[in-house]
């Protein structure tokens, strides 16, 4: 998984760290509550929201597990994300009715200064979903975000999501991570 990391001495101070963490927790709560439009409003106009499917490659291979331009569950700009949101909101989204129950657990937050007004934020997540009687799927991963200061708050300008499963052990992925 992506182990690259900004130097520790560019870490944000505790107040800023707290604000960034609260932003990520709020985002997770919006997703758990299916507040799709509120969630979409957290995205910057130039968002790149990317979740590659990892491949099993030998260490010697120049092609690594997570590569740009390959199979991906998300490789989205704002229009793509808004289309996904539009589907979730359709009354005819049969596979969402009755609704899926989600919990997004966010942890391991580290935040670093990047360009002026931007922060690189690492975090880990667990997404646990339950649907119908006994459908339970979980997905664990690591994220690297670029947060940008926006109107006394933040917007998400870039998110890369590294999941561990090379075969998604579920029939679908009906949320954002």
């Amino acid at each position: 998984m992506n182990a690259s990391c900004a130097a520790a001495d560019s870490a944000v101070d505790i107040t800023l760290h707290h604000r960034i963490t609260q932003f990520l927790y709020r985002e997770a709560r919006l997703l758990d509550g299916e507040c799709w439009d509120d969630w979409l409003a957290l995205m910057a106009d130039d968002i790149h929201y990317w979740m590659p499917m990892p491949e099993n490659r030998r260490r010697a291979d120049s092609m690594k597990a997570y590569e740009a331009g390959r199979g991906a569950l998300f490789d989205d700009g704002l229009l793509d994300l808004s289309r996904r949101v539009a589907r979730f909101k359709q009354p005819s989204a049969w596979a969402e009715d009755p609704p899926t129950r989600h919990v997004h657990v966010v942890s391991g937050v580290e935040a670093f200064h990047a360009a002026a007004g931007e922060y690189i934020v690492h975090s880990t997540f667990v997404n646990y979903r339950s649907r119908g009687e006994r459908d339970n799927d979980s997905l664990v991963g690591r994220r690297q975000d670029l947060l940008r200061v926006h109107a006394n708050d933040f917007q998400l300008a870039r998110r890369t999501i590294y999941i561990t499963q090379s075969v998604l052990l579920a029939k679908n992925l009906n949320t954002f991570l």
């Binding site: 491949e55 099993n56 991906a72 539009a86 359709q90 049969w94 596979a95 052990l169 029939k171 679908n172």
Partner: protein, 450 residues
């Protein structure tokens, strides 16, 4: 010494009893085909160890030593390009103690070395050597005859590589038969062929493999209902009413393969919500008409779907290509790729990669609703009485047409279950035959396809 599964199964279910599972003329079939563990074992032998199965696209393994690993039924196989440009396939299992010899999904290798005792195999499958080889030498061990077990036959059509585990299977060209005429409309539009872009996306659906295959073989009916939300999300309106214009749409099938389609050129492609792709296909259409014919040029990205029997499917226009690998009667592993015309500009290829993933991957706005349907069409049959209730498969019972001049068995109207019935007829024919020689020859190839 060879111990065959069949020698240890005294209970294969033979033709007279199998026929009680289907009454296709009257549009009825049994749900037991989705549930019965014994039938599943029989499918592994008589469908998956017998049919030609898609294993790779030429473009995935361009250079000598390039390989991918995939499945034929539940058999893990390595498909590898040889130094002479040919392709070989082997069981991914060491003939010494059975361990997997290749753990990567894809790559390039000069040899495959088993992690257990260091047996090393050349890319042509030959045993080259091993750890502590002197110990073997002193016992008179002969490495010849201890190579990786090869697939029985391997061949390709328009860049699509297929293999079979049955040495007695008919040639691939015969197996595909009249479907080759239609395959050319998508995999040989401009004479340059296609390629796969990006890697493979894999997921698990807890459904019987036939429910996925039958959906793509002919189920245009579900599009307007199941995928209403996806269509509205992508293009702001529902799928058109496909049943209202049967004169412009068809189902064709041959040897259990089936393609449902209309003549709207770009209907599937338009659902990706990218005008550049639609423009690309419209610009290409007259060239395809000149090269092939007007009829097929109107199929290149139209509202359509296809399954090549038993478990390979694709959608023209959306350019998603997939295999449904069985994992027991109630689970499949789905492998998904995006295919594009080799000659397309890089920007067009990239738009297709993104568009097909946004719509037809596990997170895709269309695919999300399919998995749910197939899982519960499978799992309801856990009910003892439920599984003994027949299902309806009779739509379009009188739609066969004979005067179109088109190859294959042609039915008028894509909203139809003719292809599904042909799929299950082929399934029944194969399941009830002890060898390829016994499989009934129902479909006679048209001259036009040759």
């Amino acid at each position: 010494m060879t111990a065959r599964m069949a020698d240890f199964h005294t209970s294969w279910i033979e033709a007279p009893k199998l026929e009680r599972l289907m009454d296709l003329e009257n549009g009825r079939m049994s749900r037991l085909v989705f549930q019965h563990g014994g039938l599943y074992e029989q499918e592994l032998e008589r469908i998956f160890a017998r049919c030609w199965l898609f294993v790779a696209h030429d473009s995935q393994i361009p250079k000598a030593g390039d390989y991918i690993t995939t499945y034929m039924g539940q058999d893990n196989v390595i498909i590898v390009r040889q130094k002479d440009g040919s392709v070989k396939g082997f069981l991914n299992s060491c003939p010494h103690r059975g361990n997997k010899v290749c753990f990567a999904d894809a790559g390039n290798a000069r040899q495959f070395i088993c992690n257990y005792h260091g047996w090393s195999f050349a890319i042509d499958g030959r045993l080259k050597g091993m750890h502590a080889s002197e110990a073997f030498d002193s016992t008179g061990f002969d490495p010849a005859g201890h190579g990786l077990h090869p697939v029985a036959q391997i061949d390709s059509y328009r860049g699509l590589i297929f293999a079979t585990l049955d040495p007695h299977a008919p040639p691939l060209a015969e197996y595909l038969g009249d479907m080759r005429y239609y395959l050319d409309a998508v995999f040989d539009m401009d004479g340059e062929g296609t390629e796969f872009v990006g890697g493979c996306v894999k997921s698990v659906i807890r459904c019987n493999w036939k429910l996925a295959a039958e959906n793509f073989v002919g189920d245009a009916l579900h599009a307007g209902w199941t995928h209403d939300s996806g269509a509205r999300a992508m293009v702001g309106e529902g799928v058109g009413e496909l049943h209202k214009n049967p004169q412009q749409s068809y189902q064709v099938n041959f040897n259990g393969h089936g393609w449902e389609f209309n003549q709207d050129i770009i209907g599937n492609c338009a659902s990706l919500g990218d005008k550049e792709l639609v423009k690309y296909l419209y610009a290409l259409q007259p060239h395809v008409a000149g090269r092939l014919d007007e009829f097929r040029s109107r199929m290149i990205g139209s509202i359509s779907s296809c399954t090549l029997f038993p478990n390979t499917s694709f959608l023209p226009g959306q350019n998603t290509f997939r295999t449904w690998h069985p994992r027991g009667p109630q689970e499949i592993e789905v492998h998904i790729w995006t295919f594009v015309n080799k000659s397309a500009p890089p920007d067009i290829k990239e738009r297709w990669r993104k568009g097909s993933m946004l719509t037809f991957s596990p997170s895709g706005v269309f695919e999300m609703d399919d998995g749910e349907n197939w899982e519960y069409a499978t799992r309801t049959n856990e009910g003892y009485l439920t599984r003994q209730q027949d299902l309806y498969i009779g739509l379009g019972g009188n739609t066969r047409v004979y005067d179109t001049g088109l190859p294959g068995n042609v039915h008028q109207g894509q909203v139809n279950e003719a292809n599904q019935r042909a799929f299950y007829q082929r399934w029944l024919d194969l399941m009830g035959s002890a060898s390829w020689a016994e499989v009934p020859q129902r479909d006679v190839p048209a001259e036009a396809s040759v």
